[in-house]
Symmetry: C2
Subunit: 204 residues, 2 copies
DNA sequence: GTCTATAGCCAGATAGAC
DNA sequence: GTCTATCTGGCTATAGAC
């Protein structure tokens, strides 16, 4: 019951490191800044996590383990493709509005070091497309949706949902939006994107 | 006629800096590595570009000035929305397959420093959506395409085309592809993506 | 213009007191 | 476990010979 309210030092460090690494990246982050955000001494970072690299990896794995369940929503449940798309689009966008740095962090660091992804694949819970592919093909055969390659569809779904967060500065500039109107714009996508996809694939 | 074949030192530096900055980012890049790639001395970088920051900005502006004309294809010509989408999707994907680091570099550095985008907007040739919006609205009124917000459509088009390059490591991992099969996958998107979008908006 | 050598700084890591 | 002080290496930048 003791550590219920007071976060452990280890956890404080992890929270601070998450903030700093996610906004500055591995190279841009400073151990001193992480210590400052955590409100503790720089030496403690090394005491608990040994090195910057190991602290970074802890943050990264944590971040990815938040993202993976989001994807598994669409991949592993038993509902129709239409329902999968609607629920995923809504849930993913809602979730990302709460963690706006997350997609960029993951994408950026995977591009910097492709080997990271190999480590991730060893974990259980790494997203797997087989069930989704089977469901898409089944609905095509039933004449419910138009023929489409399931992998292409999957990438389209992810792209449409993730890009507003990845490319936020660019899109803000192109569409001349401030923070508030951009947020409204993304909010509308919770249903717009699903409609857009379903319009494209639904047999009429 | 003299500098026709032999690139100037200044240009050699810029080419090398492009390679290194685009794969490592501003923080991750090392002046020594840029010098090595250029095959010249580290001191020359400072002689020509004064500082790492200024060299970086030169590379960044160059990169963005390659991207902007690609976007203006879809924004400023007079063809139908359907033709715009088909030609943009084909041209953009073809172009990006030749410059795969470009989208990531732009996105990453804009996220790192949002003020960069302000400098870019001052330039002539910064993409402007007005003509595209007018065309979308006109075609909706003519009953050629289904009602859709032009900005949402624009973001969808960009997202579907750019994401395979931004999220390449992630998509490769999810779909279990190697370099060769991933390239084929992206190659198919040159027409797949256009079909997908047009299916969604075309009035039938 | 091009090089070598080095200044000067900054960040990650550790030693050691408490 | 937590802190202060310090080591060490690496990186940007420059001085100065040629």
């Amino acid at each position: 019951m003791k550590q219920e309210k007071e976060a452990t030092t280890e956890q404080q460090i992890l929270d601070a490191a998450k903030d700093v690494f996610q906004s500055k990246g591995m190279e841009g982050a400073r151990m001193q800044e992480i210590a400052d955000v955590a409100g503790i001494n720089k030496a403690m970072l090394h005491y608990y996590y040994r090195s910057k690299q190991l602290l970074f990896e802890a943050v990264f794995k944590n971040a990815f383990s938040l993202l993976a369940p989001q994807l598994n929503i669409i991949l592993n449940d038993d509902s129709s493709i239409e329902d999968k798309i609607r629920s995923f689009t809504f849930n993913y966008t809602t979730f990302m509005m709460k963690h706006p740095y997350l997609p960029n962090f993951i994408i950026q660091e995977l591009n910097r070091n492709e080997d990271f992804v190999l480590k991730l694949k060893e974990n259980t819970g790494f997203p797997n497309l087989e069930k989704f592919k089977a469901k898409v093909d089944a609905e095509i055969n039933q004449g419910l949706i138009n023929p489409i390659d399931a992998e292409q569809l999957f990438v389209n779904i992810i792209a449409l949902n993730i890009f507003p967060f990845l490319g936020k500065p660019l899109v803000k500039a192109f569409t001349d939006k401030d923070e508030k109107t951009y947020k409204e714009f993304v909010e509308r996508r919770k249903t717009e994107v699903a409609d857009f996809i379903i319009n494209s694939i639904k047999r009429t």
